[in-house]
Amino acid sequence: MADLAALSRPAAKAPAAHPPASVVIEADNLEVVFAGGIQALAGVSLTVQRGDFVSLIGPSGCGKTTMLRAIADLVTPSAGRLAVNGKTPGEARRDRAYGYVFQAPALFPWRTVARNITLPLELMHLPRAERAARAAEYLGLVGLAEFGRKFPWQLSGGMQQRVSIARALSFRPSLLLMDEPFGALDEITRDGLNLHLNALWRRTGMTVVFVTHSIPEAVFLSTRIVVMSARPGRVIEEIPCQLPAGRALEIRDSPEFNAVAHRVRQALRAGHSYD
């Protein structure tokens, strides 16, 4: 829908060729310099197609989160071009083009789980009945159907993060931005959530940009892995990753999986030798 709207509107600012409808994110030579002169991103170019699951991976402080925040219009690039759904990130944000999942659940403790999920729907003035239906639908989707009336602080960390994913999905954005969503969780919970996220992505056909510093997580989830170097962040290599669609956790023991993981590890090492 958003793309149809984008197509019918002439791209006023971009003199370059209008991106095809299947391109969701297009970054060209993107730079981000923070106040104080710290350069977070240097010349990052990236294209994300509709339905892609792209992971940004790199050492801590390499600007992968900054890249995600630039797409979300939470950081303003200093130079370069960035388009989301063919529009500026600001326009895309105001169109509610993306759902953002933070490192922490960021749930409001005074709202029940169900009302946390309907928060964006309230801001979009959806009728009450529709909001309740969506809450039930997305709670079911993340496997928390019976927990709608609980408060977030009555749930475990993993469950809270699933609620925050349901909240990001509830208004049906076509793009999901995830910033190390499982970084604070233990490995067993994380494995479970990875399976869950993979199933969700396949079912919804969404485009996902996923920031992580876990190689197995990136290989397991992604269709493409973007390896970034230490600060200032640049793209070292883009590694395609086409594991069979119906994947189980056991795939992580397969030779194909290990081959991709090995390539990612090599690229990360190359990035480190820069400095």
Binding site: F108, P120, M124
Partner: protein, 312 residues
């Protein structure tokens, strides 16, 4: 079971022995009187010990109640036994008598001081402090100009302006309410301003990602997050308002009121009425504080200090 029996029998024994000791004071032989005093103390100690393990609401309420009675009893016995002058400290029974004798006056004072100066001044002061905090938050211009001014004003001893308020608003209750407004305004302003800064950066960015505007972010995120600090100010102000109204009346009031009563009756050495008024003030203050605390519990149940234990 034995603890239960002790918890219900011992307080009764303690109260009976205490009343007997009070009745015998100054009449009976010293040994009999001392026996009742010792029985009272031992029974109270035993009762408090037995009640300490209790879990029911009645048992939990009984301990502080019994302890309060013990203090009143000790006060009564000491004042009467040592023949302390009633000007220095009247016995609780004398205060009770003064309370009964002057019931109408005390009720009229309560209506004037509490229901007019305190309640109205409190409501206006808190609302104004809240409104100005929002206005300051909304406008960077006001934030820079009014913020430091407000912190300066909040450090001022506000009751000192009571004579000025009398010049402005006359001798009646409005001048006392004005002092209360000034006293409650700044804590509310400062607390609300601090409360509005409570919401985390991530929660703000979440709202930003939904393209939520200023008022939506204020209503859905920042005000709920500010509630615990707002309630801190509401509770603090309930005490400050009473102090402000009572002390402001010391500076002149023609009709009556609790502060007026305390000042004039103390000058006339009628300390029973003074203590009775202080009792009314203490009760009114505690009850209002308790009611606000209950409301706080109901509205900020989610805050870590009130949360029910986690788990389903």
């Amino acid at each position: 079971m034995r603890r239960r029996a002790a918890a219900s029998a011992l307080p009764v024994l303690a109260i009976a022995a205490g009343l007997a000791a009070r009745a015998l004071l100054g009449h009976a032989p010293a040994s009999l009187f001392l026996l009742f005093v010792l029985v009272t103390l031992a029974a109270t100690a035993g009762a408090l010990f037995a009640l300490a393990g209790g879990t029911s609401l009645a048992e939990r309420l009984a301990s502080p109640l019994l302890f309060g009675l013990l203090v009143l009893w000790a006060w009564e016995m000491l004042v009467l036994g040592l023949k302390v002058s009633p000007v220095l400290l009247p016995a609780p029974s004398a205060v009770a008598v003064a309370f009964a004798d002057h019931y109408r006056t005390l009720a009229a004072d309560f209506r004037l001081t509490y229901l007019h100066s305190v309640v109205i001044g409190y409501a206006i002061g808190c609302c104004l402090g809240f409104a100005v905090a929002i206005a300051i938050d909304r406008s960077p211009f006001l934030k820079r100009g009014l913020g430091p001014f407000a912190s300066l004003m909040s450090a001022m001893p506000i009751v000192a302006v009571a004579p000025i308020m009398i010049m402005w608003f006359g001798f009646g209750w409005p001048s006392k309410a004005a002092v209360v407004v000034l006293m409650t305004f700044f804590p509310m302003l400062v607390s609300t301003t601090a409360g509005l800064a409570e919401a985390g950066a991530m929660e703000h960015e979440l709202m930003q990602s939904y393209a939520a505007g200023y008022s939506a972010t204020l209503i859905k995120l920042r005000l709920p997050a500010a509630l615990p600090l707002i309630f801190t100010a509401l509770k603090l102000n309930s005490t400050l308002a009473l102090i402000g109204a009572v002390v402001a009346e010391f500076f002149g009031t023609p009709i009556g009121g609790m502060g007026f009563r305390i000042a004039t009756e103390a000058a006339r050495m009628d300390l029973g009425v003074v203590w009775a008024t202080i009792t009314v003030a203490a009760l009114a203050g505690s009850i209002s504080f308790g009611l606000i605390a209950l409301l706080e519990r109901a509205m900020t149940f989610w805050h870590p200090s009130f949360r029910a234990p986690a788990g389903s």
